[in-house]
Amino acid sequence: MDVDSRKFIELSATAVRNESLKTSMGLLGAGLSMRRAQAKAGLAEFDALRDEARDIKNDVLANLDAYLEAFEAQVTRQGGVVHWASTDEEARDAILAICRDADARTVTKSKSMVTEEIELVPHLEAHGITAVETDLGEYIIQLRRERPSHIIAPAIHLNKDEVSETFFEHHRKLGYNERLTERADLVGEARHVLRDKFLGADVGISGANFLIAESGTVVLVTNEGNAELTTSLPKTHIVVTGIEKVVPTFEDAATFIRLLGRSAAGMEISQYTSFITGPAREGDADGPRNFHVVLVDNGRSRMIGTEFQDMLRCIRCSACLNHCPVYLSVGGHAYGSVYNGPMGAVLTPGLSSIGDAGHLPNASTFCGKCEEVCPVRIPLPRMMRAWRNRESEAKLNPVGMRWGLRGWQWLATHPRLYRLATRLGIGVLRRIARGDSSYLSHMPLAAGNWTRDRDFPTPSPTSFVAQWEDKL
């Protein structure tokens, strides 16, 4: 997994000044949080469903090996094949081998974050296989050679004009010579271009929203219908997904389906929810002859039994991103990881390392909004805090921070020295303020980051505790 958060501060500084990104993020945040709130208000059982969803996933994780084996047995019984991949490399190799078996030259893909995580498309392309993303947002960013900036709205950072420019540049060679200005026309053009791809593909690759252990069924949720075409037309269908996606029964899947669309975008249910069980049956009019499921671990099992296990409940709904003030300030690309926002801040270091992803769990005020909206009640702030502990224990956070905190703790547990030291500190600040001004507009060292954008109220010369003592 390609992760690098080291440039987070620079990238976020540029991002907050990007006016078009600001507009996109404003639309995303305001639109989706309002829609989710309406959907939640409209379903009395919403919070009860969240509790149940949490409990179902906890049960699955506690018995994960057994549920995966049950799922595998059902897929096999239906005539499909399950492949297990311990690493991203194993997953890429397994998928490439299936594509080669199918003599694949072109592959259509529906949206899947796991395929982003394992960097599947570049791998297929490097081996001479053309892979076409069919989700509109994914298609747009594929043309632009960008990474998704949001787990369900991958091109949310772009505006209509940028999409128009991209289509004009790439579709000209296909005979589309017009620069389109209407959103509907852009959608229509992509529909035409991609229809041929669907009909001509040798292999269809999809992700999975849920895997149903009861029957070996793969559940896919989309609004566009691209997953249905991806998985019905080609002769081979490959499902690529994480080991944590399994749920016991159809009834359990129903609970998650009732939560997913509402949490993601305030939709009662997405337009299309597909339940796919094995390859085409004898005599079926369409459907793949070969059905493969690639179960990807890639660091997930390492999180079991740790303070990060709850993260494996995540259903990738994106509610935590859509409500996160940090994500909405910087967009997805600044994070340097395909998983971003609060869920990415916890998951990314789990799948890669805290060294590579250090900024992600640090860039949070712990406002708690993510946990408030998470449909499976993942305690995201608590786990970001746990990553900060790990980072500090491994001495990977800035040394000044570690010493500063240690010094503060030492003072706070030695009250007399604390009084002395804080009085000295306040004295320095008051000298900078020249005694009388009630606000400081400059402060030294790191505190200068405060006064760069705002003033600091000048502290009183004598602390509350000291004044109170004097009065007694």
Binding site: N362, N389, Y439, N449, F464, V465, W468
Partner: protein
């Protein structure tokens, strides 16, 4: 309840490091409020910081040391009142979690948690306080994150302000984070500033003359921005508005 009370019940005021060091006047406002509500106020003189910077900064063992010390300091009191949702949440929620494996302190942390009150919660739920102060005009309330989401502080401060006669106008994003986040605002100044700009614009849009909150960190952040950008809006802790006038 019919029994005579020979003396007022005692409340320990844990001022929090920010009030103590930056805005001592708020400490006195809190003390006057608690007194006016019929309680006796004690200020444990050895108090320092609740440990949040360490807890949130990856220094778990430092935070545990601070938690143990504060538990020792505050255990003797019947009530502990904290004029901050985040410090209140730290003591009430995070101390028991931090020390859950500590044979001596786990139980003490839980017992202390039952006696710790964020100021508005104490005034409304315990004291059923009727402010003697009269307020006029409109204010808007900023729901500081930890108070709101860890302690469920939402209606309490509004109730008190309204009981005192203030008109509370809601902003569109009262529950949005202001971008303070402790060391966050120093570590990620650009993001913090972007959040703060949205916050002050939201406050300004209400037309209220004063923004009120129960968290000094947020208030310093918001006030600093209001002042820097020349917006004529005051930022106040609700204790500052509600405390009875000082008798000289």
């Amino acid at each position: 309840m019919s029994e005579e009370k020979p003396r007022r019940r005692e409340v320990a005021l844990f001022a929090t490091c920010l009030v103590d060091l930056v805005r001592p006047d708020i400490g006195f406002d809190v003390a006057r409020l608690v007194l006016d509500a019929g309680f006796k106020v004690v200020v444990p003189p050895l108090q320092t910081c609740c440990g949040q910077p360490n807890y949130n900064g990856g220094d778990k063992s430092g935070a545990m040391a601070m938690a143990r010390r504060n538990i020792d300091l505050l255990m003797p009191y019947e009530y502990v009142v904290v004029p901050s949702g985040s410090c209140g949440g730290m003591i009430a929620h995070h101390y028991p979690e931090l020390l859950s494996g500590d044979t001596v302190y786990a139980g003490r942390a839980r017992r202390l948690a039952e006696r710790v009150y964020e100021l508005s919660r104490f005034l409304v739920d315990v004291a059923d306080y009727q402010p003697s102060r009269r307020l006029e005009g409109t204010v808007t309330y900023h729901d500081a994150c930890a108070g709101l989401r860890e302690l469920g502080i939402k209606s309490g401060p509004r109730t008190l302000l309204e009981r005192a006669g203030a008109q509370v106008v809601e902003s569109g994003q009262a529950e949005a984070c202001c971008g303070f986040g402790g060391t966050f605002c120093i570590k990620y100044p650009d993001i913090s500033n972007a959040m703060l700009e949205r916050k002050v614009a939201d406050i300004e849009a209400t037309g209220a003359a004063t923004v009120v909150a129960g968290e000094l960190g947020c208030l310093m952040n918001i006030e600093g921005k209001l002042h820097r950008t020349g917006r004529p809006i005051a930022a106040r802790h609700f204790a500052q508005l509600l405390a009875p006038e000082q008798k000289s």
